[in-house]
């Protein structure tokens, strides 16, 4: 159920149920994050999604760093049984998703509207404070116009999103799912205006995005399922389908483990950061690594192979009272990093050096924390230097005994390896090492 039982008008104050998609291996980070950032309860992880309940508003939800996308939960139930049952029967079953319990749909939608309204009001309020003369203008005009100017800094184009391909291993049948990757924050806010303007539920336009995986994907295409659900929704609630620019998006995932229905809370995935111009390492992973390093205020943090600076950007946003230094041997990477820093407004927090990781021009024990995504794959060459790299890192950081935390991915997936090292405190190690990761661990302790 989307809402904690407590009445039709339960808004965020009563606590709403959400779920996030998360990249493989990031689920423990996400679970920890929702608990600490959002005071989430009933947190559970099932097959690539983290479900949780929270009273937080959009502002707080927006801050999640280890999630791919965020959805408001409408329904989660047992998977459809596709074995030895006729196709027609299964389609009937699917219609029950919408027909059996219309309350849950309406509840979820009202929560969703409340969230957006609350957000729009906050923005409007801050604008009002800034421009006291414009009070006479009509309400919706204010929202639309002020949101536009207020959100200028937060407008982002969605760049380089390889998210859906890489997170979920399932067969990606796009169906009705149009990839509106260039939808900016501004457009979202305009949708808000439309959505909140629809006083009557019957005015809602919607679009269904469906994903099928496992056994059900062998029997149905996502389009078929999407169509059936779409028709059922129109029948049940009177909404009109709009594939181009709907008020409401419905997301359905049918797998062997569950059937999940939700409303995407933001048009743009959380993993797409407004403050990162050109991503190197995926932002969620960069943040996760930085979080492992347990960065404390007043620390000196070095990324000796910073590339475009993604890890430092994520870290500087989260832990600002810290001195960050990024180093790389490549001019083009440093230029890109410089660009990124400017675009993120972090030029004053992160310094760049053109320096080789095996010859760090730093006095011994001058750095508190070293975090790096070590290039293993085919894109960048590393050679036999890995041992020297570890040695240089050890030399330049404080000599407190610490663990190396190896995060390494099978080269087929990402082609990179990553290390987060905190020399001032021991760290837990995580269990997703590839053989390359293990090799680092052996060489460093041996």
């Amino acid at each position: 159920m989307a809402a904690v039982p407590g009445g039709r008008r339960s808004g965020p104050a009563a606590g709403a149920r959400f779920f996030c998609t998360a990249g493989r291996g990031l689920e423990p980070f996400l679970m920890r994050e929702v608990r600490s950032r959002l005071a989430a309860t009933q947190v559970e992880y099932i097959s690539g999604k983290v479900f949780f309940t929270t009273c937080s508003d959009l502002n707080m939800l927006k801050k999640l760093k280890s999630a791919e996308r965020l959805f408001l939960l409408i329904k989660k139930q047992l998977p459809f049984n596709v074995s030895s049952v006729s196709k027609g029967k299964i389609l009937n079953e699917m219609q029950r998703l919408t027909n059996d319990d219309p309350e849950s749909w309406l509840n979820a939608i009202s929560i969703w509207k409340n969230l957006l309204e609350l957000d729009a009001k906050k923005v409007k309020l801050s604008q009002k404070n800034a421009n006291p003369l414009k009070r006479k203008v009509g309400e919706n005009d204010i929202i639309a116009k002020k949101l536009k100017t207020e959100q200028m800094q937060e407008i982002q184009e969605n760049k380089e999103c390889q998210l859906e391909k890489q997170i979920e291993e399932e067969t990606l049948e796009q169906g009705n799912f149009t990839t509106k990757r260039d939808k900016s924050q501004e457009e979202l806010q305009n949708d808000v205006v439309e959505a909140v303007g629809t006083h009557n539920q019957n005015d809602l336009t919607f679009r269904v995005s469906c994903r099928c995986s496992g056994a059900i994907a062998r029997t149905f295409t996502a389009q078929e399922v999407g169509r059936v659900i779409g028709i059922a929704l129109t029948k049940q609630f009177g909404w009109k389908a709009d594939l181009r620019n709907p008020n409401l998006e419905i997301f359905i995932h049918l797998s062997d483990i569950y059937s999940v229905v939700g409303i995407p809370v933001f048009r743009v995935p959380l993993a797409s950061r407004a403050y990162i111009k050109t991503a190197g390492l995926r932002s969620t992973i960069a943040w996760a690594m930085a979080s492992l390093a347990e960065i404390k205020a007043g620390a000196v943090v070095l990324d000796p192979m910073c590339g475009l600076g993604t890890i430092l950007l994520e870290a500087a946003k989260e832990w600002p009272d810290v001195y960050y230094v990024g180093a790389d041997v490549s001019d083009s990477q440093l230029l890109g990093a410089c660009d990124n820093l400017k675009a993120a407004g972090l030029k004053d927090k992160i310094e760049l050096l053109k320096v080789s990781v095996i010859e760090l021009p730093l006095p011994s024990e001058s750095v508190d924390i070293i975090i790096s995504d070590i290039p293993f794959g085919k894109k960048f060459k590393l050679g036999k230097d890995i041992k020297h790299i570890i040695q240089e890192m050890e030399r330049s950081s404080h000599p407190f005994p610490g663990h190396f935390c190896g995060l390494a991915y099978p080269p087929a997936v990402l082609g990179t390896g990553a290390l987060a090292v905190n020399r001032t405190e021991p760290l837990p190690t995580w269990g997703w090492h590839s053989s390359v990761g293990r090799q680092i661990m052996n060489e460093s302790t041996g």
């Binding site: 007043g298 050096l353 760090l360 021009p361 006095p363 020297h388």
Partner: protein, 125 residues
Amino acid sequence: MKLLTHNLLSSHVRGVGPRGFPLRLQATEVRISPVEFNPDFVARMIPKVEWAALLEAADTLHLVEVPKEPIQGYEHDESFLRQMHHVLLEVDVLEGTLQCPESGRLFPISRGIPNMLLSDEETET
């Protein structure tokens, strides 16, 4: 390159060791730009500062009002912290050189980024 960074850098030319610190600074283009003052952060950086090196660099850049050393109770002395904030974080060397005091080797600073790559012959392996 900010002076806080300069304070951290040491020459790694072969055989130079600790005599490679501090690097002698020469600047042809310097930019002074305001940076948000965070007293907590500055206070935490003070213990890490190598003062002789900082004063030498500040002198080269003709900076005034540079504290000569940390004063008692600096954590709560706003004027001291502001002065340090300015010296460490608001002065950006965009073009210039860093020189190894022992070997004389010059490292260029370009667009604010020091290039400290050594050639193969110079590295310590």
